[in-house]
Symmetry: C2
Subunit: 337 residues, 2 copies
Amino acid sequence: MTTINDVARAAGVSPATVSRVFNGGRVTAERAERVRRTAAELGFSPNRVARSLRMQRASVIGLIIPDIENPFFTSLARGVEDAAQQTNLSVVLCNTDEDVDKERRYLEIAAAEQMAGVIVAAASRNRTDLSVLEGRGMPVVAVDRRPRGASVDAVMVDNQHGGEEATAHLLRSGYRRIACIAGPEGASTSDDRLAGYRAVLRDHLRETGGGALRPEYVRHGDFRVEGGRAAMADLLALPEPPDAVFVANNLMTVGALEALREAGTEPPRTGVLSFGDVPWASLVRPPLSTVQLPSYDLGWTAAGLLQERIAGTARPLQTVVLRTALQVRESTSGPEA
Amino acid sequence: MTTINDVARAAGVSPATVSRVFNGGRVTAERAERVRRTAAELGFSPNRVARSLRMQRASVIGLIIPDIENPFFTSLARGVEDAAQQTNLSVVLCNTDEDVDKERRYLEIAAAEQMAGVIVAAASRNRTDLSVLEGRGMPVVAVDRRPRGASVDAVMVDNQHGGEEATAHLLRSGYRRIACIAGPEGASTSDDRLAGYRAVLRDHLRETGGGALRPEYVRHGDFRVEGGRAAMADLLALPEPPDAVFVANNLMTVGALEALREAGTEPPRTGVLSFGDVPWASLVRPPLSTVQLPSYDLGWTAAGLLQERIAGTARPLQTVVLRTALQVRESTSGPEA
DNA sequence: TTGAAAGCGCTAACAA
DNA sequence: TTGTTAGCGCTTTCAA
């Protein structure tokens, strides 16, 4: 492998000069040109490992996400990647599978690799522990989910608002027995969506004298297809099944739709509203109403915050909240439709 | 940051002993225990950057793929990740967007970061250039696509066989004007699928005296949704449109289905067979016949080969070819169905 | 503007 | 089995 010393010798300068040429130090144009030429001839490219060791910081940021097969996170990853490219940072993607242990290993790796910073969509609000990174003063941005007690910048979705908007829409469409398939208890995203659902429903019941919330209409899934299917099956087995369901994430919606189909009913007779776009939604019949998430912008914004921190900008911690957008399609056109 | 020297001093041993404790060298049990305890107390974790510099090799492998939003590649990535975990390698995911320049940058990064090895699904058969890595003797495994002239291990799909199987099935189902939406020219995966299609169709025409292949029935798309839609629209605009179409990848199938729907026709009247599973195929109506790809196994196998190379096993270059499996569903049940 | 030299944290060769 | 020591390739003082 060609090193900076080889280039220096061949070009008749010192290693320091070569380093300066590659890092924007002050070198006379003539020498700089000579160095560049020799470097090209020798096929030299700087050893980033040595560089990282010396600088005590790599030019890599870590992106830790719970599920690489969920299009929400891949789109988020694209946002991070595109933003990072602007400052020549490369992105390392780590998939935790919603597993806190796997996540901890990746956090330790990020620390040990001296990554420039980390963007993390935490596997758990309670059990994800960012102290490994915070202890080392490593810049961290939480995205989509913020672990309790973490002192980090965050970019979040207005989940409660999204849940409210979704539930209000279902009520407006004429549904009255509205269920909710929530995510795992403790996931802040899911809790907030559920809170939005409850708030709107409770108000509605109060105004119409319609009684109390029905706890049996709330089920907790695992954010996966299977969990959605099981929850929907449970709901359909109730003495009085719901006439609409608000599903707290895209994958569970896929499962819920499958369960409905198996039971011989379809939207919009049973209304279905998905939190988060279902991939290839265009192919699903009937077209699905969704609460659209700004996944790409989430990633883009998080990367921006992280880069500011890496650059050392001193400013108070901040949380950016991005809004959802309700996309009404046919799956919620009403129980009589 | 706590270093190996801090631990050594605190435990009253030499740095070398600490290193040995963490890397399986011979150390007496009693001392090892003491070192481990002090390391824990001080919150020491080895600096992987220093380790990589010294060892001239990182414990990271690169996985370079063309499209992180394509479920085929995310599933492949899972296979790689799961296999890599077994030997404590971490995986860095790089997304090239089918862009040869972006790909070259990532290959250079892999070299400069001294990654232990690279698994690459090349952006182009002709223009992807692995010589940066080969020159440094870095272990490389090509997966799904093998760049021309590269001397590397490879794990491939039997694309030609898949194309033959698909086309033969369409003929058996009674379709006679069978079109093919292929991928970009030059992509080996697409070329092979197309070759399979042509071979079977040519044989059929010869046997039945049905004339020659119709070149207008072959369109080239870009492996994306939009390309599939455009190609299908072109086919439908022909004086004599096809009665079935073999689409060479999953995303283009989504586009083709959309175009069919817009034109007011649906499978199986126009037969549609997708090469590669469409995500959430269960929700697509009618259920889609597919050639199923062993995406996860592709990744798993590639990681296995790479690890052997990293370990230094000397053996001739090998190419593993995995078979596809035809999954017949309703979208190809025949033009009269 | 340039070069000499130190040192980032670790591993491995060698000596004890 | 253990310790001493050199050095991986780079950046960055400091002095010239």
